[in-house]
Symmetry: C2
Subunit: 230 residues, 2 copies
Amino acid sequence: MQQSREHTLKAFDQDLDRLRALISQMGGLAEHAIGEAMRCLIQRDVEAAERIVENDQKLDALEIETERRVVQLIALRAPMAGDLRDVVAALKISGVVERIGDYAKNIARRVPQIDQGGHLEPLSLLPEMARIATQMVHDVLNAFVNRDADAAVRVCQRDQAVDDFYDSIFRTLLTFMMENPHNIGQAAHLLFVAKNLERVGDHATNIAEMVFYAATGEHMAERPRTAGRS
Amino acid sequence: MQQSREHTLKAFDQDLDRLRALISQMGGLAEHAIGEAMRCLIQRDVEAAERIVENDQKLDALEIETERRVVQLIALRAPMAGDLRDVVAALKISGVVERIGDYAKNIARRVPQIDQGGHLEPLSLLPEMARIATQMVHDVLNAFVNRDADAAVRVCQRDQAVDDFYDSIFRTLLTFMMENPHNIGQAAHLLFVAKNLERVGDHATNIAEMVFYAATGEHMAERPRTAGRS
């Protein structure tokens, strides 16, 4: 009986490791997609932007695969307490990572729209904002793999920097629009790009809360809410 | 044994009914929040808008309660196949409904920003767009409660109307901005309001896909993707 239980435990750990590997794989794809979408935006690379949109279905497929494995794992291994929290967190996190991929796709779809036109100053701020937001995603998924609640808390603390970038870009874009109505179309698209990146930071924060709960069984202390910015 | 199994089945059905009631309750709150946020926007009711923001924590609490019950239900009843799909769908749907509430909160937070200023034509289109989107949410949650895959498919078909509204409002707002730079700040906020409502329609569609999968065990046939609009 003892041996059988150990066997079950080991099988569960292997299943969970595979789930974590799936989430890491999804995270890698999403990070790459955001970075590549920003490169396409800056270099007006319309062709590569189309490939980002096509590639997003890989993330959709991996999310479905994650859900399939979660359901199978729950049915076969009947995990309890912390194990069950981990499995449920994996399911929820894969959904959030898939949405982060959607933001990359949304940004890529705007590339043809801002294709024409001259230099727009906010274009030089957006990549740095993207770097911070994707680094948050990278670090919070590592925190999940390592069940590291402290690392998850540290990721949340960095969301303010993303929000500050957003506020600055929002104001700059509005000024650009006012200075020259010719800029309005492009600037409107860049407003949404900035908003998408701000949401990536929010989603990294959401994942951090899920990681914290999975690791500790407690909900993270209330932080000042930053959602719903201009 | 037979009696014990029947007892377990009945207990499971009761648990599932309670889960469904929770989701319906969340849906009712989210629908009301969107409708009320639109009313505040039109009537520039800054005070009531603040209450929408405060009330959003009810939805957050209900999402946590749903997750708690899902985890408990899985641990106690070990549901299989279609039952397990229903339970997992409940968990995912509660997350989406909570996000729909966030959109209402985001709209409410913009009310003070568009408080001053004269008549903006898109303001008259937004409430109708909101009505269609919230009706989709209402109907898709009914489809979940009734395990009605056909009704879920019909909800998806209505997303095009929301997208058409969005495209029209986007163009109108850009024209407004170009005609008078004085409108730019307000119009930028309304762009995001329109985007939020478009996302509510997308989320109703996402829920419809979850309902379809829970009810049939099959993934809904690929629809033309509408995400990532201007």
